[in-house]
Symmetry: C5
Subunit: 88 residues, 5 copies
């Protein structure tokens, strides 16, 4: 899980990335503490800056690709849910 802290603008890029929103994610613990370092993930759920999100890496991320062909997608991380709240 992470927090969306920004976005990336890239003109020169792989064809599979054209038209996709690339967000910067700061990984966090459930108490909001930051962990690791920022990563870039393709947004598939309309997440905005400041929101807490569920994001995944690897083939799972490509399975969320709107283009429908994970094998033509270069992305390795994707936002797949907006977190409403943490329960514990």
């Amino acid at each position: 899980m992470g927090k969306v802290v920004g976005s990336v603008v890239s003109t020169q890029k792989d064809p599979s990335l054209v038209g996709r929103k690339l967000m910067i994610i700061q990984p966090i613990n459930a108490d909001g503490q930051t962990v690791r370092h920022e990563e870039v993930a393709a947004d598939t759920v309309g997440a905005g800056i400041g929101e807490y999100v569920l994001y995944v890496r690897g083939a799972g991320a490509r399975n969320s690709s709107p283009q429908g062909d994970p094998h033509a997608d270069v992305m390795d991380a994707a936002i797949v849910g907006i977190i409403d709240r943490f329960d514990s």
Copy 2:
């Protein structure tokens, strides 16, 4: 291996995540010492908060998907066992 420390509520999410329990895992060593940082994993064995669990990442996690089609699943981590005890 990890300890279940909470769960995540998400309304806006990838279709493959609808109806799945998303738990927050704190990775641990066998002596209970916390390591790394919390992660979200889909529960497939009925794990509750406070339990020690075996969880896996990547394609192994999608192989545990109850839907049966790992290629439509975006999740990249899953709880696949409840740990009764550690032997050493």
Copy 3:
């Protein structure tokens, strides 16, 4: 590479894990120094506690599955060799 430091007992687990030995591995450097944190790996070579082993993660681990179908296996780590010695 790592050292086998224990095992995990789990009754409630994914069907693909039934009958498999799940060992706790402490990753090490060649000089025996511990690194990172403990992990659980399925044993495929008869490794015992205290032995130094070669273990792998991801699809490589599932390729070692005795069941023969890596796509039904949830495990993401496996012991694939017992280390006799390190040369340098």
Copy 4:
């Protein structure tokens, strides 16, 4: 995301790497702070030293391979975009 800080010259290498530009990437946060450690990635977008780039790991990297057959490609990281700017 990362910054291109150098390149690697290798004569003796896997056939799938012949003719490819192998760049050294220093991972960074959006504020330019260095994180983790340097990695080697195949360039697919004409990135030069000093540029900020989007790079991916694993099968996503092989999906960007110009040869068209990800299953013959050994590379595990690729530069897939040049970052024009970070928004936050």
Copy 5:
């Protein structure tokens, strides 16, 4: 990228590892600084102790397997090039 610092001798191992040279790699930055911890990788290019090498993880490593069938290979890391020099 890394430096070859030793090798591993293993008699009892997965059949896919028979006859392969398993080297110990110390990951490094381009300035030779050691990072992370040692790893074991299958050598495919004739790398010797003390040499700087390009190595990859995951399916990319299995794509370099001389046996030709990545799906029967358990290895998750491979040396795929000898580094002549770093440019920056």
